[in-house]
Symmetry: C2
Subunit: 128 residues, 2 copies
C-alpha cells in the first residue's frame, strides 16, 4: 500500500509536467539495480529536472543521506537540477533543494512546516 501510494504520487507528478507542456517519465525499479536513480525526470527543451519523491502519510519525510547523495550525483552527471518533491496529505507538492533537508546522522528530515515555509509549489518550480 505504501509503495502504491508513492507510485500514484509519482504518476500525478508526471501528469502535471505533461499538462504544463513538459515531457516526463517515472523510473522503473528505483534503487533495485544498484545505480543512482531518481524517481521522476522531466524536461522542456531548456530545463531538465530530476526529482526524488516522498509522498507517504507522515508528519515528516525522511530521506537517507544516500538518497540525497545519489540525487545530487545523478543530476550533476546527467545535467539536470536535483529537487526533492514532497507531498503531505492535504497539501500539494512542495519542492525543496537538497540543502533544505535537515541532516541527522543517517538521514535527512523534512517537516511539513519546513516544506510549507521553504518549498516551491509545482507552479513555482516550473516557472523558476
Amino acid at each position: 500500500m505504501i509503495q502504491k501510494k508513492g507510485s500514484n504520487a509519482e504518476r500525478d507528478l508526471v501528469h502535471r509536467f505533461f499538462d504544463a507542456g513538459w515531457m516526463a517519465m517515472r523510473a522503473a525499479g528505483s534503487g533495485s539495480i544498484g545505480l543512482p536513480c531518481p524517481d521522476v525526470i522531466a524536461g522542456n527543451g531548456s530545463r531538465r529536472i530530476v526529482v526524488e519523491c516522498k509522498a507517504l502519510a507522515a508528519d515528516a519525510k525522511y530521506l537517507t543521506k544516500k538518497e540525497v547523495a545519489e540525487l545530487l550525483e545523478f543530476g550533476r552527471t546527467f545535467g539536470a537540477e536535483p529537487w526533492i518533491g514532497i507531498k503531505f496529505d492535504r497539501m500539494g507538492w512542495r519542492f525543496l533543494s537538497c540543502e533544505d533537508a535537515r541532516a541527522t546522522e543517517k538521514s535527512m528530515v523534512i517537516s511539513k512546516e519546513a516544506a510549507e515555509a521553504r518549498g516551491l509549489t509545482f507552479e513555482e518550480l516550473i516557472e523558476k
Copy 2:
C-alpha cells in the same frame, strides 16, 4: 518471458551508459499511463538521449508508427536525441535514427541487415 527479455536488455543498456560515465534510467510502465514514454533516457551533461528499445528474438524488429511518433515527440519536447535501440540475438546493440525505420502502413520494420549496415554501435552512439 518476452517482457523479461526486453527488461533485461534495457537494464544492460543502462549499465553500459553508467560504465561510460553517463547517468541513465529505465522508464516505469512504458505506455501504461497513456503518455509518450521512451524506454531509456541517458545524459552526460552535454548530450541527452532517449531510446525506444527492441530486443526480442526475431529476424526483424517492428515498431508501430505510434511508438516512433511518440519517441520523436518526447525527444523534441524534453530536449533529447531520439534513437531506436535494437538488439538482435548474437549481435550487440545497434542504434538507428527514426528515418532508418522502413515504414509499412501501420508499423516500421528494421531488419538485422539494415541494423548492421546503418546502425551505430554503442561506442559510436556515445562518441557521436
